[in-house]
């Protein structure tokens, strides 16, 4: 009996069904808490024409940046991009389309999408270029714009610990967009550092309940750091 056991045996199983033209939401902030092995698997699969929803788009040679190398991404929805030369090049040549979205709006688009809320009003971006073509309303004298939520074919996330049932705990600020991404995928695939039997995680400490997770795999992570800043001992 499989029941609630979400574990899969390989990365190719983890992303089975992902095909050209699909939309993929990825958790992570910068290179922190990114599903680096699932991204690498997308590269191996060679699927193309993807729409990627993620706060950032990796760097040259790591994170979502690797999917630019074989031009697998057609469109990116993100709040901050361009930490990579290849991204810049493909953007300027028109191979890559970017939809810049305020970070809080992006987070809320995923949260709302996962919660079955198709759109919401927010003050963020009212009176700026972000509001172009969007419905505007005034509540209590303040301007708000209507933002549509996001759901996707696949969501890929990275957790710290999970039990077989896909209940996930994140570590430190590697949480970021991961719990939101988890809710918004039609198929949500989680990779984690450690998988434990059900009962070992304290129920009240679970960040992402297993109901949102369809497939689970344990990986080994490089965890690259973008800016190593330290103080002296």
């Amino acid at each position: 009996m499989v029941g609630f056991d979400k574990r899969v045996q390989s990365y190719s199983q983890a992303l089975e069904g992902l095909v050209d033209g699909m939309t993929v939401i990825s958790g992570g902030f910068g290179l922190c808490g990114i599903p680096e092995n699932l991204i690498a698997q997308i590269r191996t699969m060679g699927v193309r024409n993807l729409t990627v929803v993620s706060n950032n788009c990796g760097v040259d040679g790591f994170g979502l940046g690797v999917l630019l190398e074989d031009r697998q991404i057609r469109r990116v929805i993100a709040s901050y991009v361009g930490e990579n030369a290849l991204f810049e090049k493909q953007l300027l040549s028109g191979e890559l389309e970017v939809q810049l979205t305020p970070q809080g709006t992006l987070a809320e688009k995923l949260r709302a999408g996962g919660a079955g809320i198709p759109a919401f009003y927010t003050a963020t971006g009212a009176g700026t270029s972000v509001s172009e073509g969007k419905e505007e309303r005034t509540f209590a004298g303040r301007r708000y714009i209507l933002e549509e939520s996001i759901t996707s074919d696949f969501a890929i996330i990275k957790g710290w610990k999970a039990d077989w049932y896909g209940n996930i705990v994140y570590r430190h600020t590697a949480q970021n967009f991961n719990p939101l991404a988890a809710t918004a995928g039609r198929v949500t695939v989680a990779e984690v550092e450690e998988i434990v039997p059900p009962g070992e995680l304290e129920p009240s400490t679970i960040h992402t309940p297993g109901i949102y997770v369809d497939r689970l795999i344990q990986g080994r992570f490089e965890k690259r750091i973008e800016q190593k800043t330290t103080r002296s001992l």
Binding site: F29, G30, A107, K223, K228, T230
Partner: protein, 218 residues
């Protein structure tokens, strides 16, 4: 003399109050954390999901899972909380942050702020800046008074794409502390040794000066 970056941060730090939750933008605003007045406690919010940002880690404690919104490795202070990006922006949009300090390219007399995009240059994105200015009633803009070529950044109307509309009331530049009232910049304080005329020449938007304007002291 125009204020140094450190003096600008020092002046803004005097606006901190005990028990404030504060978001500091990248650049000079980050330096404000170094000048928190003695005897008060503030909690720094980092929009990637950290309330209670501490100093950089010692080299032996470097942790890829512990970063700030500038993607620098940091620590969490005692009493910190960590949460998702949605919770982080709920704090910001819900008006729970007591003070937001951020940089800008331009500000105008309507309180409009431009800080994220220069047409013709590569656009990297607004990150969390639009959320921060839309959610906060208490914003201080920290920037140089004029560009390197001497052009005023305090304008009758912003020329660059906006980050937020009608969101700014307080501005600290390297020359002055100003507030916006009735579509006018009101000169409240001068940098030490900087004359009112010098500030007037470098302020393109309407400027009101009433009485003697005190000099900042450091």
């Amino acid at each position: 003399m125009a204020l140094t970056r450190e003096q600008m941060a020092q002046r803004v730090a005097r606006e901190l109050r005990d028990g404030y939750y504060v978001n500091l933008g990248i650049g000079i605003p980050t330096l404000v954390a170094n000048y928190v007045p003695q005897g008060i406690d503030v909690m720094l919010q980092s929009e990637n999901g950290l309330l209670g940002m501490g100093p950089f880690p010692t080299p032996d404690a470097l942790d890829a899972d512990m970063i700030n919104a500038g993607k620098q490795t940091v620590t969490a202070r005692k009493g910190a909380a960590i949460f998702s990006s949605a919770d982080s922006f709920a704090m910001i949009r819900g008006g729970h942050i007591d003070l937001t300090v951020l940089g800008a390219f331009e500000v105008d007399v309507f309180g409009n702020l431009a800080s994220w995009m220069i047409p013709g240059k590569l656009v990297k994105g607004m990150g969390g800046a639009m959320d921060l200015v839309a959610g906060a009633d208490n914003i201080i803009v920290l920037m140089t008074h004029a560009s390197k070529s001497g052009e005023s950044k305090l304008l009758p109307k912003c020329s660059l794409p906006l980050t937020g509309a009608g969101c700014v009331r307080r501005i600290l530049t390297d020359l002055a502390y100003l507030e916006i009232e009735a579509q006018t910049f009101v000169l409240k304080e001068r940098a030490p040794g900087v004359t009112v005329d010098f500030i007037k020449e470098r302020t393109a938007g309407a400027l009101r000066v009433s009485g003697t304007v005190p000099e900042m002291t450091f």
